[in-house]
């Protein structure tokens, strides 16, 4: 696992950084989601401006075997545009909330991207040949005067510069009253779910004009509202099972075979609150911001404001592991509430073997927890270490008392620099870490 020492520990090295260098961040450039595809060859990011940028890993260069392939821009397209709902006088943001890849079935790649209201299925395909030698058209596309055609020829395909095209194949709209926070593709690869604050809908990838509501927690009277859905995900192996997390810190596992409407959960995962930690903000910090199944499907991980918890699906009353991400913030909740940072929704991710979990923090720090060795490390995504293969130095935050050398005190953390979105390559030790408007790619040191 990542550690400062040698041995079998991984040492993380800077690989690349994508994005503008300016300190002045354009709002549209703020990265809002990061996702590797199933093979890890492609890395997609979505931003607040509604754009999707896909990076492709170049094939490993056998000569330069000291590093894995770099990720270069593969395709960029505008996925969502701002819209206005005239009926409700609401502007619908174009910010991409989530991207999920479909497994590859043919030469083209497919991904789902969603904003607050609409989900789109995009096909990304390559074109590296084009037909030439039409009889009725000039090379530039203008039609020839038929009277000038004197001979016939067969058009042939000639190579051209690689062109990557993205086209929307399906648009799944008008199914959500509230803001969509999650999409998850079923293991049957035919259906997927989309979750908003109060409802979860089940879609078929081929059918856009209807969806099936499977969870509805909207109370009859909105004044009775006590919790909302914050994240949802299908089980990686069981196509009938999904989970959704709530703002109250609970996770419900539902089985679609039990009933058409899965309002009644099959399992409820909840840890009793520690009364000694009670505060004004207990409800806020217990709200779950992300839930992710392990690749094996045996565990799931939840992220609340201060911690990461690993749950065994067979045990509902408490998590099997809890990792404190930035406990030193517990005494700062008041100021974090004032500056709205307490509402930040951090995501979390597993590595390919489910042995390490990663999540982000403030000051462009991100944290990794090794489940086997119980060791953790804090690293920083910063342009200061931007020489390739520079090993990242572990960082440490000093909660109180005397600050040691190289430690950072809590009060000097920059809460505007937050890492909310991280992704881990499904097979290798390559991670993508999104700061506000930059994407960092780190790899383990390959000797």
């Amino acid at each position: 696992m990542a550690g400062a020492g040698g041995g079998n520990d991984i040492q993380w090295c800077f690989s690349q950084v994508k994005g503008a260098v300016d300190d002045d961040v354009a709002e549209a450039d703020i990265i809002s989601t990061v996702e590797f595809n199933y093979s890890g060859e492609l890395l997609a990011t979505g931003d607040k401006g509604g754009r999707v940028v896909i990076f492709q890993q170049e094939q490993e260069n056998k000569i330069q075997s000291h590093s894995r392939g770099e990720y270069n821009v593969y395709s960029t397209f505008q996925s969502h545009e701002p819209e206005f709902d005239y009926l409700k006088s609401l502007e619908i943001e174009e910010k991409i909330n989530k991207i999920r890849w479909l497994p590859q079935k043919n030469a083209a790649q497919f991904l789902l991207s969603t904003n607050d209201k609409t989900i789109k299925l995009w096909k990304i395909s390559e074109r590296d040949k084009r037909p030439e030698g039409y009889n009725l058209k000039e090379e530039d596309g203008r039609y020839r005067d038929p009277t000038t055609v004197t001979t016939l020829r067969v058009p042939v395909f000639r190579p051209m510069d690689l062109m990557v095209e993205a086209s929307p194949r399906r648009i799944f709209a008008n199914a959500h009253t509230y803001h969509i926070n999650s999409i998850s593709i079923n293991s049957d690869y035919e259906t997927y779910l989309s979750a908003d604050d109060l409802r979860i809908n089940l879609w078929h990838l081929e059918i856009t004009d209807r969806s099936f509501n499977i969870v509805d927690i909207k109370p009859a009277n909105m004044e009775e509202l006590t919790e909302v859905i914050t994240a949802a995900e299908f089980h990686p192996n069981s196509c009938n099972t999904f989970v959704y997390s709530s703002s109250k810190g609970t996770i419900r596992l539902c089985d679609m075979r039990a009933a058409a409407l899965c309002d009644r959960h099959s399992k409820l995962f909840e840890e009793p609150e520690d009364p000694s930690n009670r505060s004004f903000f207990s409800e806020i910090i217990s709200s779950i911001s992300d839930v992710k199944f392990s690749h094996s499907g045996r565990y799931m991980m939840t992220r609340d404001y201060l911690s990461v918890k690993i749950w065994d699906l067979n045990m509902e009353n408490r998590p099997v592991e809890t990792y404190q991400v930035h406990e030193y913030l517990r005494s700062k909740l008041c100021s974090l509430y004032e500056n709205d940072c307490i509402f930040d929704k951090f995501e979390c991710c597993w590595n390919g073997s489910d042995s390490v979990v990663m999540t982000g923090s403030y000051n462009n720090f991100f944290r990794m927890f090794d489940r086997n060795t119980k060791r953790d490390i804090t690293l920083e995504a910063s342009r200061e270490n931007n020489k390739p293969r520079t090993v990242l130095k572990p960082r440490k935050v000093c909660a109180s008392g005397k600050r040691k050398k190289d430690e950072i005190s809590v009060d000097s953390l920059d809460f505007n620099k937050k890492i909310l979105h991280t992704a881990w390559h499904p097979k290798e030790n390559i991670i993508a870490v999104a700061t506000t408007n930059n994407l960092y790619i780190f790899q383990d040191k390959v000797n």
Partner: protein, 410 residues
């Protein structure tokens, strides 16, 4: 958790957030506003508990001046248990009333105040009990208090009022927090914080809310005497008594109801719901001028509203309950309630900052519940007043009509 902010600033910050969220791009974020409403309620509970503490302290001082007897507080617990409630109603150490022996010697006004306070907290505690279904029954006995009845929470025995439970567990006092004097007997108990009452009325608290306040103060002495056992259900009160108690100056927790129009965006159905809100200083005077003035109610159902008046921490859940209140805690004349005028508040608490009265009026506006906090008026030509904590009470009152006509965005 050490908090640099006191309850009032937290309330004003929260209201500011809610207000600004209405103009944010992308529409109102339901999740964030729900969380802010929780903070708002927590802060309000603490704010109110400070008021109660103040009141109790004054009452204690009055008693000690008058009687010059050692208080029996630490030995007497008043396990008011509503009929039908399990006998494991929570203790309320800090609100122990003096024993029945000197009840008659007490100043009636203070006693009434205190009983109202007591019942208020009793309701609150019972509601929280019901809400969270603590598995371990709590004994109301003094012995249990001393020994520390096992509870669902870490060894803490008394389910102190939810507002009090919001004290920082490490003992760092909030500014202005005066809960210590409320416990003249045992050392301050650790605070088991039941999660604050949530907005869910589906819990069977209606009977508790309805019946608990009916325990007349007159039953106190008898139950005090029987303090070694879990309290027998208090005899149902005579509504007359309760009404009689009402005119006593009350400086806290009177609930009035107003109506909020809610537009369901899914079904496009417009419904009108009743809210309870905190009627801060509704003095229970015969005039209750505030009740006759202020915002024009969309017909305020005072009966239903009054029922919940001693229940500041819970009014969200009580919004729609059609309780057949026999408490009749409405002022004589049954005039519809409205948020109290600022003047009355300041009468009671002359040393309060101007913000306090603003806050209390804002509390009364937003005491209703989530929809009261998140409201939009796309049709209203009036703009709501800016919620910056400096809100003028008059402004708040003038715009109350607008708020109550608000169309909830969700």
């Amino acid at each position: 958790m050490e908090c640099a902010l006191d309850a009032q600033s937290l309330i004003s910050i929260s209201l500011r957030k809610i207000h600004s969220s209405r103009t944010q791009r992308g529409g109102i974020k339901l999740h964030k506003n729900l969380l802010v409403s929780y903070v708002l309620r927590n802060a309000r509970q603490l704010y109110l508990s400070e008021r109660y503490a103040e009141l109790y302290r004054r009452q204690q001082q009055q008693q000690q001046q008058q009687q010059q007897q050692p208080p029996h507080h630490q030995h007497q617990h008043l396990p008011y248990a509503a009929p039908g409630m399990p006998a494991n109603a929570a203790d309320f150490g800090p609100l122990q009333l003096g024993g029945g022996g000197d009840a008659e010697a007490r100043e009636p006004v203070a006693r009434h105040q205190l009983h109202q306070l007591h019942q208020l907290h009793q309701l609150h505690l019972q509601q929280q009990l019901h809400q969270h279904q603590h598995p371990a029954p709590r004994s109301c006995t003094a012995a249990a208090v001393v020994a520390g009845a096992p509870a669902g929470c870490a060894g803490a025995l008394s389910e102190l009022p939810g507002c009090a439970a919001l004290q920082p567990p490490h003992g760092a006092p909030h500014r202005g927090q005066h809960l210590e004097p409320l416990q003249p007997g045992p050392a301050p108990l650790p605070l088991p914080p039941p999660a604050p009452a949530t907005l869910c009325p589906r819990d069977p608290r209606v009977p508790a809310a309805c019946s608990a306040p009916s325990a007349p103060p007159g039953a106190a002495p008898s139950t005090v005497a029987a303090s070694s056992q879990p309290a027998s259900p208090a005899p149902s009160s005579s509504p007359g008594f309760y009404r009689g108690a009402y005119p006593a100056p009350s400086d806290f927790g009177v609930h009035c109801s107003s109506q909020t129009t809610v537009l369901d965006l899914d079904t496009h159905v417009v419904t009108t719901v009743e809210n309870g809100y905190l009627h801060q200083d509704c003095c229970a005077s015969a005039h209750c001028p505030c009740c006759g003035q202020g915002a024009p109610g969309p017909g305020l159902a005072s009966a239903a509203g009054c029922k919940r008046k001693y229940y500041p921490g819970q009014e969200e859940e009580d919004d729609d309950e059609e309780d057949a209140g026999d408490l009749g805690a409405e002022p004589p004349g049954g005039a519809p309630f409205a948020p109290c005028k600022r003047a009355r508040f300041e009468d009671f608490c002359p040393d309060s900052s101007p913000d306090a009265s603003n806050i209390s009026n804002l509390i009364s506006i937003f005491g209703s519940g989530f929809s009261g906090l998140v409201s939009r008026q796309p049709d209203s030509s009036e703009q709501p007043p800016p919620l910056n904590g400096q809100l003028c009470a008059k402004q708040a009152l003038a715009s109350l009509g607008a708020w109550t006509r608000a169309i909830v965005a969700f």
